[in-house]
């Protein structure tokens, strides 16, 4: 693998098209995210945000276009391919196993086995998993609850943190992983939203590239470095979050403001 220079995007999609029959869900989309950058993907319902996210996570195969991860061309046939390339998706439903405790949820799929004969029999080392989970959560600056607490006894904000942390732990093993977040604050109250925003920022500071799909404009301004706005399957705006005019952004989202790329799409 070539060592990615700072100028190489962690994830770059070019010319992505997605057709469902005659419906064009995505029309010639270019989007990239740099290591340590938070890109907010905005758009009204049906604008194609979720479809684009699914293309990035490998759940959908685009009709046209190329996907580059850290400069290397990839073709995702399944979400596991994307995971192998260092891309983790945090679903809106969080995908946590509620009756199991935090440590198990964080380690699901990469459980640590005991050493020696018990390990050969498949016995897990719960203590080691608890220790490493605590260490990882400390590193992310989040301490939710004892690692032995079942997820069903956590509050919504704590669950969101566990789900984010699980993905963060998984991409941290890779050099400069990529996180895709689907509406991370949709079900949270004010204070919990603040906590999650802080966590997203810290993950980015550790070099993780993050794409956030959201309806929550204040969240974008809090955490995002760049805003990418979709409207009816087309990219209509791509601009730095700092200084972006709120009315303009809303205009792009609703479609009342013409695309930044009006010339390109007209031709």
């Amino acid at each position: 693998m070539s060592t990615p220079s700072p100028a190489t995007p962690a994830l770059a999609l070019t010319g992505i098209e997605m057709h469902y029959g005659f419906v064009r869900a995505l029309d010639d989309i270019d989007i990239h995210v740099m290591p340590g950058e938070v890109v907010a993907l905005l758009g009204d319902n049906g604008a194609g945000k979720s479809t684009l996210l699914k293309v990035m996570s490998g759940a959908h195969k685009p009709s046209h276009g190329s996907i580059r991860v850290r400069g290397e061309e990839h073709s995702f046939g399944a979400p596991s391919d994307a995971a192998d390339a260092g891309i983790q998706m945090v679903y809106q439903d969080l995908s946590l196993v509620e009756p199991q405790d935090i440590a198990i949820n964080l380690n699901l799929g990469q459980e640590q086995l005991r050493k020696g004969p018990l390990g050969w029999l498949g016995f897990v080392d719960r203590k080691a998993m608890r220790r490493s989970s605590e260490k990882e959560l400390d590193r992310l600056g989040v301490r939710t609850a004892p690692m032995t607490r079942p997820v069903e006894m956590l509050s919504g904000g704590q669950r969101q943190v566990v789900a984010l942390a699980r993905s963060a732990i998984r991409v941290n093993g890779e050099s400069q992983g990529i996180l895709l977040l689907d509406e991370p604050t949709a079900a949270l109250g004010y204070e919990q939203t603040k906590n999650v925003e802080g966590l997203i920022r810290r993950m980015a500071d550790q070099g993780i590239a993050i794409v956030v799909v959201t309806h929550d404009l204040p969240l974008c301004y809090e955490v995002a470095d760049r805003l990418v706005i979709l409207n009816r399957g087309k990219k209509v705006a791509d601009l730095p979050a700092a200084g972006a005019d709120r009315d303009h952004v809303v205009g792009w989202i609703t479609g009342s403001r013409p695309s930044m790329y009006a010339d390109a799409t007209a031709s």
């Binding site: 699901l108 498949g122 897990v124 301490r143 607490r149 509050s155 204070e191």
Partner: protein
Amino acid sequence: MTNSVSNSGATVAGADSPGPAPAPANGAPGATGQDMPRSVSVLVFMRDRGIFVLWGLLIVAFAFWCSPYFFKVDNAILVANAAALTALFAAGVGIGIMTGVLDLSLPGTAAVASCVCGWLLTHGHATWLGLAAGLGAGVLVGIVNGLITIRGFNPIIVTIGTLSVLSGLAAVIAGGYTFPGLTQLEFMGTHRYLAVGDSFSGIPAPVFIVAAVFVIGTIFLTRTRDGIRLMAVGGNAEAVRRAGIHADRYKVLGFVISGLLAALGGLVSTANVTEANPNASPAIIFTALTAVALAGVALTGGRGSLPRVLVGALILATISNGLTIRGIQPYWATVCTGALLLGSLLFERVLQTAVSERLMAANLSVHQKKV
């Protein structure tokens, strides 16, 4: 070893005492890191361990009411033996439900297993071969059930279908009759072990089998990677799949375990009467389900523990034993069990609501403190 049995209860109960180190105050106070109120721990303990308390109360009540016959070692062995078969099938149904499937084909699997074993034994094959073939039949049924179900069919309908197929197959193997006189199997049926002279007549073989099944099963489900994943698949199969695990394989594994236990149950009941009977009695599954439901294993999957299932089966046997000693008609035992089951549902609902309310209150109070 505070949390040796249940996956949820013990960990929660134990979560309070060691607690976390105080949250790192590096300017980033994650999500609210408060600890659980004591009252919630007590309620959760009652929810997860209540059935053990209930059984203890039943034993005390019967010990006085049916004195002096009930509270004796001999009677305890009777109860254990009576509970053994129910417990085996309940383990099968229970593990199925924890994995997220309701396997209704158990009686058919049991009948086929005992008929396969009976056929081999009456045709002069070795005992071990008969038993192995019977258990193998159970595994095979589990694989078939699993492979059909993961194609996206409803497990209840699929297993009703296989139940019908299997009970027919069992009758075909038996040629419409039964296989009587299987005395070779007595060692795992009515035979008693560990007898001490005249004072103690020994413990019947099925009790040992049940003990082994529950110990191994509990360790498997709470201590091993595959067991934990199995429970996780029952809790949220999609989450497990997204974690990069072949969730479907674990679904099939759940069916295989439940088929294996059903076959074992069929073989033990065959050994008890030294006769292989092709009649698949649906009553088995309902008794087993009663024990499982009494144990508070949620039908939604992912929750529950085998020790509780065992106690559920024991409670059924205890009630029927105590009432029999008092000379009360056996029909009343069923009435009692049913009433107990409904009562436990109500109890669980009340506890669950109390837990959620208290948790909500705890989260809210923390919220207010910070603002």
